[in-house]
Amino acid sequence: MKSRKKQRNKLDEMQEQKLLQIEHTGCWLAFWGLAVSLLVQCCMGLEWTCLAGEWVVFMSLSLYVTIACMRNGIWDRKLEPTPKVILGSSAIAGLICGFLQFTRSYREYHALFGSIAAGIFMMGFTAVLCYAVMSIAASIYRSRVKRLESEEDEDGK
């Protein structure tokens, strides 16, 4: 049987860059689309089991991006992983999760103060958890960058 040859790339370098740009935009559209869809469905009070598929895709995408960036010593285009940035990001994540918990709780139990308490608890818990995870990620990122920057040249210099 004739062995199947690897199909030749029909794109030239500019078309390849354009395609990468299109895929990049598509990837982030899917990412934020999934994030918004998950948030809206959570606010609507859907069961977690109904969101399992979207959640798995969203988390796989997030994990892939995080691990790939870490391995290549990349954090962000504009931001550095300073405690201030980590604190700000954790606070935003905490606020979103707190609001989500508040709406879910209020929708289910119609108890305003109880829902506020649940929201505040979730906000604090998420913020602390995010801060811890991002601090660990930042330290891994720093050591990775250090290692990449100290790698020797081919001629051993």
């Binding site: 370098e13 500019m14 078309q15």
Partner: protein
């Protein structure tokens, strides 16, 4: 990015169309057009291929005066 007039001139000297140059270096006509219009910054590999086909040096086609 500024327009690359040098490629256009070199192409005219060789009496080549954008399509012919594109075929000679193995890219699409739109890529050659984008390079000439200054809309695309080619890789060094493609720059060398263009220079080879047009019989010019890198400096002649891709050097920009400050």
């Amino acid at each position: 990015m500024a327009r690359n007039i040098a490629i256009k001139v070199a192409r005219a000297e060789k009496d080549m169309t954008q399509k012919e140059l594109a075929e000679a270096v193995g890219v699409s006509r739109q890529t050659i057009n984008a390079i000439e219009q200054g809309e695309y910054n080619p890789t060094i590999r493609l720059c060398r291929a263009i220079c080879r086909v047009l019989g010019k040096r890198l400096d002649d086609l891709f050097w920009e005066e400050e």
